[in-house]
Point group: C2
Chain length 342, copies 2
């Protein structure tokens, strides 16, 4: 086992013959030293096997390279895939992530944010919709929201309206007697509401018979299954023998619907077409591959970090020019036709 | 928008009439002040709306409350559920998590660990098996491993041997002609190898015909599906018409097998019994609920943090007594009978 005794500024000073102040300047303002002296100190660090202590640098520079990340849950496959992709941006941007799994309770999430701010995070990525964007903006730290209300903060979202258009158009082509969109009753300030508008506008444009089912499907798998089972019963009673095209709010819920039908019929009956949303892993891993309106999760994760890192880098300048208005990036969805639509 | 100008020790000193040194002692060694003076300063903090700057405290105390977490991937549902449960321990222990998604490359994971150490993390939880425990132990920071080689580090693992016994015993009761365990060719130093031994010992004890299929099923869903499809072809050729009981290495792979059979037969044929491992969410969300040897993921997450926090707290004492030997906690698995076994 190697000895891991910490090399201090005093050790480096003794080794090089410089003062401790000079060593400190090397770390915090290297350009104030001659190139020759910078080199001498750099050589000493190698010789002494110096391990950088970032906490010391942080205090000197105020820059922690921390990004706080609040995710509502890891139950929805969309979120665990988004987390995966955001963590992967470390290779490109070098920021480290302090991660909290949200609780849907504003008080608890506020406590998380206070913790994050106490650690001098440089920015936040917020997927949870619990705390209003106005409050998030007031923390005076760059924030990027993903798929949440974003009036006062920058954001990266899928073009949800286009997603609704894509879903309705695909179901239109598969000759359904009735087209149904199931979703939560999302407020107009949430990006997801765009899906509902895109769906409705397309149905009305083409005079397609449609129904909106805006209802809470619950927060756990057990609640989802129970409520979606009830929906299937209702659909079968209301539209017996009709061909039903169903646009679900996400792939996790589309998978629950697909499984209920497989359990009843041993296959996806010809009277059903299903399309999900997200292109999260479950859409491929389902009993038969699910058609879906794909969110470009790696693109969104990357654009969110790009937008955030630009703001974080700006704040490191001598005369930072903060954003005058929040920036909203919109990423097009990609329709993915698999085996649950014609 | 509230003004967020930072309140400094100098402001608190000016407000209370104490010296800055006294204010600093309040934060770093409060018991060195009288209760009355502690109260005066506490009142001033409220009056001034002081926000704690943890980076300052960290430098004073050396205690960051950070735990580094390295997870191999978030594709296996077991890992995303474990991450979820580990993050949830924040409510109990107060430690914050710096999270890296592992890369299975030792060089990259070493870089992650260097980053973590540079931030003075107080401990690490490692789920990735890439770096040998001997090296992890040499970093001189408390480490707890979960389901990985753990000779030189503390660990919390499921009793994998008992899991293998439970799986073979359940398949034995369902009157199979042949019992098959599919797994990676895990080395004996990995806890998962216990499953293979428990399975084999049980089959031999009861003279059950069995087969071990030790093979790499790949790292992505596409690879999994292709290789498990090939396995099904082989089983059908080798054991036509026989009743096959198959113990898969985890629920994610058990779900892939179940879906392949549903796609071929519209149901789980009577000639197949399937049991997974983990009790991860996919086992409930599968087309029919999967029987599984359940890992007690919340218990494991909690025990890992308990073990780690004991070691981290010990190091904060004046005369810490480090562990003489790594501690290995073993958590019993729970057999969960659902619809893929008799």
């Amino acid at each position: 086992m190697k000895s891991k005794k910490k090399v201090t500024f005093a050790d480096i000073a003794a080794y090089t013959g410089f003062s401790k102040t000079t060593i400190s300047r090397y770390f915090n303002d290297p350009d104030s030293l001659t190139l020759e002296n910078q080199q001498k100190i750099a050589d000493a660090l190698v010789a002494l096997d110096y391990k950088e202590n970032k906490v010391g640098r942080i205090l000197a520079s105020g820059k922690t390279e921390f990004v706080g990340l609040i995710i509502p849950n890891l139950y929805l496959h969309y979120y665990s895939e988004m987390l995966n992709q955001i963590l992967a941006t470390y290779e490109t941007y070098g920021y480290k992530f302090l991660v909290f799994a949200g609780s849907s309770k504003a008080d608890v999430e506020r406590k998380y944010i206070e913790e994050l701010l106490a650690y001098n995070i440089e920015g936040m990525i917020i997927l949870s919709g619990t705390i209003p964007s106005r409050e998030l903006a007031s923390y005076n730290v760059p924030v990027v929201g993903i798929e949440r209300e974003d009036r006062y903060i920058s954001s990266v979202n899928t073009d949800n309206y286009m997603g609704g258009v894509q879903a309705a158009s695909l179901l239109r082509k598969s000759d359904c007697d009735i087209i149904i969109h199931v979703n939560a009753n999302v407020p107009d300030t949430s990006p997801a509401s765009g899906r509902i508008h895109g769906f409705v506008d397309t149905c009305e444009e083409y005079h397609l018979p449609y129904e909106l089912v805006l209802t809470d499907l619950g927060d756990t798998f057990e609640e989802n299954r129970e409520r979606i089972t009830r929906l299937v019963d209702e659909f079968e009673e209301k539209y017996p023998g009709k061909k039903k095209g169903i646009f679900m709010p996400n792939d996790t819920h589309a998978n629950v619907l697909l499984n209920i039908l497989f359990q009843r019929y041993g296959r996806l009956p010809d009277t059903y077409q299903i399309i999900g949303f997200d292109n999260s892993p479950i859409s491929r891993e389902a009993v038969i591959p699910l058609s879906t309106v794909g969110q470009q999760i790696p693109v969104i994760a990357n654009e969110a970090m790009k937008l955030l890192s630009e703001q974080m880098e700006e704040r490191k300048k001598r005369r930072p020019a903060p954003l005058k208005e929040p920036v909203h990036k919109v990423i097009p969805p990609i329709l993915i036709r698999r085996d649950t639509t014609a």
